[in-house]
């Protein structure tokens, strides 16, 4: 059995620092296993948020060797264990303790977004929708709300524009409603003026870190940007609408 070193961010606020923990590692282990082992044997009071340990709930988000990842889905054999593996909390949100951050901002902002609004039924009194049309919003509904995309988005992470920009997770939340054939809500003006989709400069880091493999930028954000252009920036489109 081999031993690896895990350099874990411990503490609260100003008093936080890296602490190195040696830990025995076995075949097939993921980072969360190592963290649990350290917690059970060396650091009983270490704060870690986790639930399903199967990549389905999106609780155990952290930064492993500098990249935002789910601890439960990062296998140790994908890391270089000859050097210490750094594990830090997410950077785009207030730190609580050890590996845990306060992600409540995401929930509060989501609450401000106008929810799904059912369109009137079809002629037969039911709501029909076809697979070919729901494929698109279904991709966005795969989101497990791990907030890794929010963490890596430099608008939130580096520029702290939480009061102006909703971030990739909530943009795909808007997208799944805007592109749902059963929804007749309109969130385009809010997208432009309140959620400020224009702050996204398409660097695609959100797509890169998404553990669900959602094409956040190409399939959600850019199509939303195009819809905003239709509505507010395209003179031809406006002219066309007047004549229609």
């Amino acid at each position: 059995m081999a031993t690896a070193t895990f350099r874990i961010w411990r503490g609260e606020g100003e008093q936080s620092a890296y602490v190195d923990y040696p830990c025995e590692v076995e075949e097939g282990m993921v980072v969360l296993d190592a963290v649990h082992r350290i917690q059970a044997t060396q650091a009983n009071d270490m704060a870690v948020r986790w639930n399903c340990k199967a990549g389905k709930c999106g609780s155990c988000s952290a930064e492993i060797n500098g990249m935002p990842k789910l601890m439960c889905m990062t296998r140790l054999n994908s890391l270089d264990l000859s050097k210490p593996v750094t594990i830090e909390p997410m950077k785009a949100f207030p730190h609580i303790k050890d590996l845990v951050t306060d992600v409540s901002w995401n929930y509060e902002v989501k609450k401000q977004i106008p929810p799904f609004h059912l369109r009137p039924p079809g002629a037969d009194g039911t709501w029909r929708a076809y697979q070919k049309d729901v494929d698109r919003p279904q991709e966005f509904r795969k989101c497990i709300e791990c907030f890794l995309c929010q963490d890596v988005c430099h608008v939130l992470r580096d520029h702290h524009m939480h009061e102006k920009f909703i971030g990739p997770r909530l943009l795909i939340h808007v997208a799944q409603m805007e592109m749902n054939p059963l929804d007749d809500g309109n969130r385009l003006e809010a997208l432009k003026d309140e959620y400020n989709i224009g702050y996204c400069n398409i660097t695609k880091c959100c797509t890169k870190v998404c553990p669900e493999g959602i094409h956040i930028t190409d399939n959600a954000i850019i199509p939303l940007k195009e819809r905003v252009v239709d509505e507010f920036y395209d003179p031809l489109h406006k002219l066309f609408k007047i004549f229609k």
């Binding site: 930064e63 060797n65 500098g66 990249m67 050097k83 750094t86 950077k91 785009a92 949100f93 207030p94 730190h95 306060d102 901002w105 509060e108 902002v109 401000q112 076809y130 049309d133 890596v152 430099h154 608008v155 992470r157 580096d158 520029h159 702290h160 524009m161 939480h162 009061e163 102006k164 909703i166 805007e178 592109m179 749902n180 054939p181 929804d183 003006e189 809010a190 003026d193 309140e194 959620y195 224009g198 702050y199 996204c200 400069n201 398409i202 660097t203 695609k204 880091c205 890169k208 870190v209 930028t217 190409d218 850019i222 199509p223 940007k225 195009e226 252009v229 239709d230 920036y233 395209d234």
Partner: protein
């Protein structure tokens, strides 16, 4: 614009302070990719600027350099500004250039490689302030679809150039021949087609703007989506090929390259 800057929600307590430029825990060579993009795009910009100002050596036999097509004027008109050397390329190059500058792929790429905004994912940035694409002049990026309309037109023109490159003057008579240069001229609109037809704006226009798509619309949308999935690859290959085609034509026109082999 009445509701701009409505605050969404403040964080309850501040997040960790912004990290200094280049600061990251990533152990990999994260700077390699932005550097390659910087060098690649930089080389193209330098070469194409130089080539555009030459104003000469853009025809070689039946071949016309894509950087000069279509040739709108061959001689200096009276209204041409005195300080600017005359070149036919300057009349048209803004269109494909604008298409690429406003392209969603290139935007993300050059914001990273040239502005370090961010340099790459999860790496500290040099600046504190940030405007995004919300204000002038970057609001102009929203004109991408207009450049797309032009790019589609250029696609037709370049396809026509490719057709022309198959007809060689032999003793005053046009004859169908395929030379190495012909192949190069044919590949050019194909790669540009792959790039242009995979454009995000086109994807929006042919179906993306609708939540419910009929059969034919859905098929078209799926085709564009398929190309769009590898938009980056088409962007680079087509960019490189345009430059290469110009070099080929230029060297031929200058008499440096004399082996435009005939294939049949």
């Amino acid at each position: 614009m009445s509701t701009i800057d409505v605050p969404l929600k403040a964080l309850k307590s501040p997040p960790p302070p912004q990290r200094p430029f280049g600061r990251t825990e990533r152990p990999d060579l994260w700077w390699v990719q932005p550097l390659l993009v910087f060098l690649g795009l930089g080389a193209f910009v330098v070469y194409s600027t130089w080539a555009a100002f030459q104003g000469d050596f853009y025809r070689f036999g039946p071949y016309l350099s894509p950087m000069y097509s279509p040739v709108l004027l061959t001689t200096r008109p009276g209204w041409w500004p005195a300080f600017l050397p005359f070149s036919a390329a300057l009349l048209i190059l803004w269109a494909p250039g604008g298409f690429r500058v406003t392209c969603y792929y290139y935007r993300g790429a050059y914001y990273k490689a040239f502005w370090a905004d961010p340099a790459t994912c999860a790496v500290g940035e040099p600046r504190k302030s940030y405007w995004g694409e919300r204000k002038w002049p970057l609001l102009l990026q929203n004109s991408h679809r207009y450049f797309l309309y032009l790019a589609l037109l250029f696609l037709v023109l370049l396809a026509h150039d490719a057709w022309n490159s198959m007809w060689f003057m032999v003793n005053g008579v046009k004859q169908f021949q395929i030379h190495l240069g012909t192949i190069i001229m044919i590949v050019d609109p194909i790669l540009l087609g792959g790039y242009t037809l995979g454009c995000h704006s086109l994807r929006h226009l042919v179906g993306g703007r609708r939540d419910v798509k009929g059969g034919a619309r859905k098929k078209t949308y799926d085709c564009v989506t398929c190309l769009n999935g590898v938009h980056m690859r088409w962007a680079w290959f087509s960019l490189f090929w345009v430059m290469f085609t110009d070099i080929y034509v230029r060297l031929g026109a200058m008499g440096i390259w004399t082996h435009d082999w005939r294939l049949f």
